[in-house]
Symmetry: C2
Subunit: 321 residues, 2 copies
Amino acid sequence: MRIDVKTAANFLMENNDYLILMHASPDGDTVGCGHALCGALQRMGKNARAVCPDEIPHRFDYMLRAVEAQDFEPKTVICVDVADTKLLNKMKSVGDTARLCIDHHQTNTDYAEMTLLDSECAAAAELVYEVIKALYVPFDKPLADCIYTSVATDTGCFKFSNTTSKTHRIAAEMIECGADFARINYVNFDLKTRGRIKLEQAVRENIAYFAEGHIALITVPLSLIKSISDIDEEDVGALSDFPRQIKGVDIGICLKEKKNGIFKVSLRSSERINAAKICERFGGGGHARAAGCSFEGGTLADAELAIVKACCETLEESGIK
Amino acid sequence: MRIDVKTAANFLMENNDYLILMHASPDGDTVGCGHALCGALQRMGKNARAVCPDEIPHRFDYMLRAVEAQDFEPKTVICVDVADTKLLNKMKSVGDTARLCIDHHQTNTDYAEMTLLDSECAAAAELVYEVIKALYVPFDKPLADCIYTSVATDTGCFKFSNTTSKTHRIAAEMIECGADFARINYVNFDLKTRGRIKLEQAVRENIAYFAEGHIALITVPLSLIKSISDIDEEDVGALSDFPRQIKGVDIGICLKEKKNGIFKVSLRSSERINAAKICERFGGGGHARAAGCSFEGGTLADAELAIVKACCETLEESGIK
């Protein structure tokens, strides 16, 4: 059942002993939502605990300060920023008992008893913010740090087209409530390990251009990832945006080799090209400007050929090249 | 004489035939201020023209659409984001006749008859925004594009510590007025020429670490800059932030060779180090986290030795190393 902010707040006031689930491969939004909501409920005198199926990256340590460890038996399961209980991995069965879900993904499977969803929100935390307001819990610095992190990380620091005026107004309020935004932005957007720099260098050394520079492709073979210590999944993921940032490029392709002969494509495009449509041809999908798909059973060169061919055809159809 | 927003607006209502000066080496803030103010005055039925001593970079072309060419003899000179008429280069003498200056630099020399200044503003455009409000000119899309560009570019897209809640609220309003923010951010923050990528690769290939990794240094010799076509002053300037982004680094140094044996240092530091104090030892200065100084008469190696030695001493004094 879809519900509004007021109903969600009433539910949270009436119940207790909350277990708040964040999605696996946790990002800034889910961690911010989980800890802001957990902290707010604790400040109301409720028992609450925020848990994640995966370890939370250390750069998010400051958000853990919004909550305190409490000893209690959870009764009420809530999911935040979790579109599908599959995204809870080993905690899927717990997620299937969720009474409330707060999310911003249009693809939400409505697995919870009640779902508070607004797909116009750049971050799920924009809804968590409204719920905390409706609960009359004031935002102290630790809560503000969480909400700020969520909205900043899900919008590339207010850069991407999903940002709205509401996103900016929430950020403004969190800054006034003491959010340590400059430090948060440094940690989430600027800080790089030496390994990440090595990885970026290696990948950028071999940019392949096609269709007179309208297409740029970078490849990330497993051997490269294995040769560099000090990098993680996120460092590899962050490469996806790079090729499309090159002047003149309408389609940026990042081709990554996963284990077991699987190749993953991340596509980024200009307004002239629909990235999702290209990826759908290979069973993938996504958004108009950012999409993805996978290739199995062939070589890196096979995958490269297939995706580049599809991109060239789309360029021709669109009259660009 | 320092004045407030209302006095500035009254002055603009009472006069006419405006020449609005932007500073040399124009950035997003001065160009945004110049064109937003010029466009607003034109919408009031006034004559106005925005001029810059240097050519305005093409990536700002969209801001030129906020104004139309008018044929008139200028009578009233206004400077925007110009702290000192020296920054007007060949137009200095015109700037010296300025009746009004709108600025956010604490270092403003009060050269104009009237100065509207607030150094708490992240961008001079935050004041131009208030003036336009006081003039009751509604923000249409072209004006909103200008103001949004100013506040976004002067804050590193709301990333830096100079950002305030007011900055975010102005951005929110400009988005509601139609600012094409995703496109503006792409052009100003993501887009890179192939030359810029080559330059970044070359510089990042040779990072020198000192003091057990607390100091990172990159050098940009003139020979490197000359070897790459398709790069400009700004591409070189953008390298300054990089060394401090490396994990573990408290002081990031970017050492650039200018013409005639001059070497320019850009220093970036963590909260534990005062970058301005280090640069002051060599006759430079700046802010606590970002400062600069120059070396003359020696070699690149001399400059490197001098600045690294000073940084090591500061690290020791601060008890870090």
